[in-house]
């Protein structure tokens, strides 16, 4: 089959690889009908996630048609259309039972690697380095789905792929980012980053009753989409306007009630501090560039919440712990517990409350995946989201 393979830093190729095989009785094989490049795939592309090996198949946002099921998968059959959540969960361990699916204790066969870097291991993830399991990803013609009896969500006939594809990751991730803000009537929410996850966080904050949502980015086209499609009430281009000053002004001098970091480890910052962090990252003195997180903490209202859904990998410095501690800021974070949100969000999509297709800017055949990565990483042609069709 054809698959999108990570060959080395900034080198992604579509190659012929062996078809996936059933390894366990709870597996299924999926023929992928739609898949997407995630912003977090760009961290792999740019070489910021350790334990990638040349030839690893990328992709954790995908859906398709079941072509084979193991003997223990009773509620799925060949031909079923499903969306697959990106964290692989067993459904039986204490974390899964609590609904913390991305923290499944059983699905990372390389847990020891994650334990070395993070202390304990989260769940396995498709196509996202060996530290999170070394599972083959879904930017391919076929993919093996472990624990197919508990993870995939069946999609009713008549709902097109593009409406539901993002249930695999970014829509639930954006939604969880807003949900963690515990939005109260009158709340103002600020969202750092207007990539796909940021757009869905803005949309979700509105759906969850935020009075106003302030969108922050440096690309005018992304800010425009945030205003016109996601429902942001205000937008700030931080390369043109002083961010703290603007946020203070927009919030009556008090700061946003909650701040969502939808940026993660490759944040951009103009000026000397940005250059300093780039240098430290390049020389391995810190693994992540945490400007968005620092700003979100500093800008947040005293007693407010900072919700972190942007991906971080390792270690940062100049973390404003004094601001966090003295001002009673709550930090909430996590890889999304996608399985918790898929069904309710599917219902919202079917009712027309959310139309997730507004973020799609490019539709490419799987063969053009390398071009898709290039456009997405360089923000060429106003690229916001690339959907691939095998």
């Amino acid at each position: 089959m054809k698959a999108t393979c990570w060959m080395s830093k900034t080198d992604v190729q579509v190659r012929q690889v062996p078809d996936p095989q059933m390894l366990n009785e709870r597996d299924a094989i999926l023929r992928v009908t739609s898949t997407a490049i995630c912003g977090s795939d760009l961290h792999l592309y740019n070489g910021f996630v350790p334990t990638m090996k040349s030839g690893d198949i990328l992709g954790h946002e995908f859906m398709g048609e079941i072509v084979e099921t193991g003997p223990a998968v009773s509620d799925l059959k060949t031909g079923d259309r499903v969306v697959v959540p990106f964290p692989i969960s067993c459904g039986a361990c204490a974390q899964c039972r609590r609904g913390l699916f991305s923290l499944c204790e059983n699905t990372n066969p390389n847990a020891w690697m994650a334990e070395k870097l993070w202390g304990y291991s989260p769940a396995g993830i498709y196509g996202y380095s060996h530290m999170t399991g070394g599972y083959a990803g879904g930017q391919a013609e076929y993919v093996r789905v472990p624990f197919a009896d508990v993870n995939p969500l069946k999609i009713p006939a008549g709902v097109p792929d593009e409406q539901v594809l993002f249930l695999s990751d970014i829509l639930p991730t954006g939604y969880m980012g807003a949900e963690m803000c515990n939005i109260q009537p009158g709340d103002i929410i600020a969202v750092w980053g207007c990539g796909p996850v940021g757009q869905f966080a803005i949309k979700s904050a509105k759906v969850l009753g935020a009075e106003r949502v302030i969108a922050i980015d440096r690309f005018p086209y992304r800010l425009r989409i945030a205003r016109e499609r996601a429902g942001a009430t205000e937008t700030i281009n931080y390369e043109e306007i002083d961010l703290y000053d603007a946020l203070k002004d927009l919030t009556g001098g008090r700061g946003p009630d909650a701040c969502i970091d939808a940026v993660g480890l490759e944040a951009h910052l103009p000026g000397a501090l940005g250059a300093y962090d780039r240098l430290k990252q390049a020389t391995g003195l810190e693994s992540d560039r945490p400007h968005a997180l620092r700003e979100a903490i500093m800008a947040c209202r005293s007693g407010g919440t900072v919700s972190v859904i942007g991906v971080y990998g390792g270690f940062i410095d100049k973390f404003p712990i004094g601001s966090l501690m003295n001002r009673s800021i709550t930090i909430r974070t996590g890889q999304c517990h996608v399985q918790r949100y898929m069904k309710p969000l599917l219902e919202r999509i079917q009712k027309g409350e959310i139309d997730p297709t507004f973020i799609i800017t490019h539709r490419l055949p799987l063969d053009d995946a390398p071009r898709g990565y290039e456009m997405f990483v360089n923000k060429e042609d106003d690229c916001l989201k690339v959907v691939l069709t095998p």
Binding site: M22, N24, E25, G70, A72, C90, P146
Partner: protein, 318 residues
């Protein structure tokens, strides 16, 4: 099985060192600390003499290099003597030794060096490196519950995992030793040859085939199973697994403690662990597979293995 150096009582656990006595490796560390200080002072005050003594041609670069090494030695020496747990500083000595070996190696390439003296110095540093590494390894093990090397030369491993199943189910599965190959990676087969006796076949380091007989020495249903190998080849070992209910229905805490007496005693054990043999990691991975089997009915795989193909062909792993 009491762990050396750490007091574990039934009612409350005190994770502290017991008594004031020093372990042999700690006495050795103190010696290495003073050695570091002595060498450091010599390298700082008389860099020419030191460089000449080890056969290096004396010039400005070798002088400043020698002084730098002296500073490093002093830091390590003071660190070792000041800290209650000097393992990290002894490891820094190992790093320093490697640096010295590299410098000496580079010295051989230089002109006008005294090769005989260089060779003697290299041999001496290589010897010190081994002593440092053994000492650091023993010191590290001294403060760890997961792996210890006792004064008597046995290797003790202890690992715990919490499984979301009641104790009786876990006990039943473990007590049927024929299940062992499904979660103990190195075990190929276990045959029951008597009421309490089993015959084990396993793959040792470097793919050596190992076989031994073992007896269950104690069993308390749903609580504990203890066993001991009857053969001293490949080595005498014993183990115990305990199943304790976690509070408020949070599953069962499974504790495995194993004791190995490798031929050659503690030295073999230390050398093996330095060469990357990690019995505590092996036990951890085996326990992880045990948990996967108990909670999900299968061993979780991302890459195909021969065993997984076989088990699927034979109708699944459940």
């Amino acid at each position: 099985m009491a762990m050396q150096g750490v007091t574990i009582r039934d009612s409350a656990t005190s994770m502290e060192r017991r008594g004031n006595g020093r372990d042999g490796s700690e006495r050795l560390a103190i010696g290495l600390g003073w050695f570091s200080i002595g060498l450091g002072v010599a390298e700082l005050v008389a860099p020419r003499a030191v460089a000449r003594g080890i056969g290096l041609r004396e010039h400005a670069t070798s002088r400043s290099l020698t002084r730098f090494c002296g500073l490093r030695e002093l830091a390590a020496g003071v660190g070792i003597l000041r800290e209650r747990r000097p393992a990290a500083w002894v490891w820094s000595r190992v790093l320093g030794d490697v640096m010295d070996l590299a410098l000496l190696g580079a010295g051989f390439a230089g002109r006008r060096t005294n090769r005989t003296r260089l060779a003697a110095a290299t041999a001496a540093v290589a010897g010190v490196t081994i002593v440092d590494a053994l000492c650091a390894q023993r010191l590290t093990a001294l403060s760890r519950l997961s792996m210890q090397i006792t004064a008597g030369g046995t290797l003790r491993v202890r690992r715990r995992i919490t499984v979301n199943r009641p104790a009786d189910a876990l006990y039943r599965f473990w007590r049927d030793f024929s299940n062992a190959p499904r979660f103990m990676q190195r075990v190929d087969s276990v045959q029951t040859t008597g009421e309490r006796r089993t015959h084990w076949r396993a793959r040792g380091p470097a793919g050596i085939n190992l076989e031994w007989d073992a007896d269950v020495t104690e069993e308390r249903p749903n609580e504990l199973i203890a066993w001991r190998s009857l053969d001293t080849v490949p080595f005498q070992h014993s183990g115990v697994v305990r199943f304790e209910p976690a509070p408020a229905g949070r599953g069962t805490v499974v504790t495995v403690e194993m004791e190995y007496a490798p031929p050659g005693g503690g030295l073999t054990a230390t050398a093996a662990t330095l060469l990357g043999y990690a019995p505590e990691q092996q036990a951890q991975e085996d326990l992880r597979r045990f948990k996967q089997l108990m909670e999900t009915g299968l061993v979780v795989l991302a890459q195909p293995t021969e065993a997984s193909r076989r088990s699927l062909a034979a109708g699944g792993a459940r």
